[in-house]
């Protein structure tokens, strides 16, 4: 088995809108390793979903991949012809979307929505596909699986619908599962169940998972490694423990400062990050976080910093050998 399941290099994606080009993703590179859960975290508009939808070439109207490669099982997904790519989608790569209320077709039974996926990718009879669908429903713990196949999405709760989505995504034993905010639209208690289920399935089926979320709590609980995205760029990447124990980028630090800590009884106020994300139709020439950064220097506004470090990387001029030392900010291992 190769070192990486998916290898994305220098991916740039833009949306062409009436008010100009919006640069949603600006040169993102990362690897997904076998059997790991890679967390992509960032606020709305940071480019995390667009990155993954670009890899699958499922962008909405107006979106265009400008450059980059995404190597999966020896093939570049970005230059593959549409037919060959659709052979991989739903087969070798499964996808779960954010809102299970809208991601399932309301007029087709959930069973059929699973079965059609199996029939598309496997040489199986209808009866075999149906048996497999029941197996999948049991795998994602939908009670009385055989009878629920005949139900329509509106007859399920949100959590159950997301289980159906997961069953569809896992229908053909994918090597890679992309979960785009799989718990954002769900109640908190259901969120935990779905995350536990995902983590359990990932271990049992030895899949790699890309987990997209804006919730650092979800990341802390589930991910093995994390990419922090901001303004269409990777700002920091680290193993999950490192990220929480020794955050190296001021943006990550800001995100952590905005998370409530229930064990803390000093009544510390949450610190929001002042300002708002950059306008990606006219991204700043320097670090996109500089206008909101408490440590911003002149340099930050003019020039985009590279990623410093190796296993733990951070895109901040403060990690430059000649930069002043800032308290509270951790160094990246050189």
């Amino acid at each position: 088995m190769s070192e990486t399941v998916l290898s994305v290099r220098d991916l740039s994606t833009s949306f062409f809108t009436p008010r100009g080009e919006v640069q949603a993703v600006r040169g993102v590179s990362f690897d997904v390793r076998p059997g790991e859960i890679l967390g992509l975290v960032g606020e709305s508009g940071s480019g995390k979903s667009i990155t993954c939808m670009s890899v699958l070439r499922l962008l909405k109207a107006g979106g265009r991949i400008k450059s980059g490669t995404a190597t999966f099982e020896g093939q570049d997904l970005l230059s593959l012809d549409e037919d060959a790519l659709s052979d991989l989608r739903g087969n070798r790569i499964g996808v779960i979307f954010q809102d299970p209320m809208t991601a399932l077709n309301p007029t087709i039974t959930v069973g059929e929505q699973v079965i059609e996926t199996i029939l598309r990718h496997r040489r199986a009879s209808r009866a075999e596909a149906r048996a497999r669908a029941i197996e999948l429903f049991e795998l994602v713990r939908i009670p009385s699986a055989a009878t629920r196949l005949k139900s329509y999405p509106h007859e399920f709760s949100g959590g159950m619908r997301q289980r159906v989505m997961i069953a569809i995504a896992l229908a053909c034993d994918p090597q890679l599962l992309i979960a785009d905010e799989p718990t954002t639209a769900l109640d908190v208690t259901i969120q935990r169940q779905i995350l536990a289920l995902l983590k359990d399935l990932q271990q049992r089926l030895a899949m790699s998972v890309i987990l997209i979320t804006h919730d650092l709590g979800v990341i802390a609980e589930t991910a093995d490694r994390v990419l922090v995205l901001y303004g269409g760029l990777i700002m920091e990447t680290a193993p999950v423990r490192d990220l929480f124990a020794r955050p190296a980028h001021p943006y990550t630090l800001g995100l952590l400062g905005a998370v409530p800590d229930l064990r803390d009884d000093t009544h510390r106020r949450l610190t929001p990050i002042p300002g708002s994300p950059p306008d990606m139709a006219a991204p700043p020439p320097g670090c996109p976080f500089a206008p909101r950064c408490p440590h911003a220097m002149r340099q930050c506004l003019d020039a985009l910093p590279p990623l410093f470090g190796t296993a733990h990387q951070s895109r901040c001029w403060l990690h430059h050998p000649e930069a002043p030392k800032v308290a509270g900010l951790n160094e990246v291992a050189a």
């Binding site: 499922l58 109207a61 659709s86 979307f97 809208t102 991601a103 077709n105 007029t107 087709i108 996926t117």
Partner: protein, 309 residues
């Protein structure tokens, strides 16, 4: 399901009764009558005619008599054409109207929906622009203009089709086209906008993310969900087309009921007005019922339930 149907049919009877009552009194509220014309009849003759058809009775009495008659599905004799009953008048005109009407319905579905799909799939490219241009013309140009222009061009100048009548199968082309032109355009526009909206839905992305082929994505996941508004308008459209059009039947000299309906009004042929109104209302209500039943088949989220008062 049966309970629902029974309730719907009951409601239809009530609606029909209201239509009958309203039309009857409105019709009688208009001055004049079947035997009033520029050429004055001798008073004795007029009185005799009125007595023969019961028009000398008070209006409420006439109303009750009429109700009694239609309760036994007898729409009465024509006041204008002696010896002709309204039932036989409808029976004579209906086959012609029905044939052209149903052909027009088939054209609306078979051309309108595919044109809308082609336009939506090629949004803002030339096929879309072309279809929308033609569809805008189709909606804007009145049917009698289409009828006369095509008549002049294809029947008179080119001689491809007969100028009137349906004895030759080629005679159907122009009336059916004139009848359906507007609705083909209308349905094409509606299908396009509805499909464009459906294509934006999350479940369409899901369908592609599952690796389904483009045809499966479009026909299995897209079309069914975008046909709901189309089916909604199709009900009244069918009712409209199968009950004929005065203009088209006049221009192509077709012996249909659409022409009878309009003539009956100018003739003040009371029973004909009532009869054809009842006939049209009944067909419309049946079509709407069929549409409601189709909804359930198209969208499982819609359930037929009896109204609870």
């Amino acid at each position: 399901m049966l309970g629902y149907l029974a309730q719907r049919l009951g409601m239809m009877a009530v609606t029909l009764f209201a239509i009958v009552t309203l039309t009857f009194f409105l019709m009688h509220a208009v001055p004049g009558g079947p035997f009033v014309s520029e050429r004055m009849l001798a008073p004795e003759i007029a009185a005799a005619l009125n007595a023969k058809y019961g028009l000398d009775l008070p209006v409420w009495q006439q109303y009750l008599n009429y109700l009694g008659r239609i309760a036994s599905f007898d729409l009465g004799p024509s006041f204008k054409y002696p010896g002709v009953s309204i039932n036989s008048m409808i029976a004579a005109g209906l086959p012609t109207t029905l044939r052209t009407g149903l052909l027009a319905v088939i054209c609306v579905v078979a051309l309108g929906v595919p044109l809308g799909i082609v336009a939506a799939l090629n949004r803002n490219r030339w096929p879309d622009t072309f279809v929308m241009f033609v569809a805008t013309l189709g909606v804007a140009i009145p049917s009698y203009v289409i009828a006369t222009v095509t008549l002049y061009l294809f029947a008179l100048r080119l001689g491809w089709v007969p100028t009137f009548g349906l004895d030759d199968w080629r005679g159907y082309f122009l009336p059916v086209f004139a009848l359906s032109g507007f609705w083909i355009s209308f349905v094409a526009r509606l299908t396009r906008s509805s499909l464009l909206e459906t294509l934006q839905q999350d479940y369409m992305t899901t369908a592609r993310a599952k690796g389904l082929r483009p045809g499966q994505v479009l026909f299995k996941h897209g079309l069914r969900n975008s046909l709901l508004p189309v089916v909604t308008v199709l009900g009244p459209v069918v009712a409209n087309l199968v009950t004929g059009s005065f203009v088209i039947e006049q221009i192509f000299a077709l012996p249909g009921i659409g022409r009878q309906f309009v003539l009956s009004i100018t003739n003040r042929d009371y029973t004909a007005i009532m009869g054809i109104t009842i006939f049209y209302a009944a067909i419309l209500m049946v079509m709407i019922l069929i549409v409601d039943l189709l909804y359930v088949w198209l969208d499982p989220r819609i359930k037929l339930t009896k109204a609870t008062a």
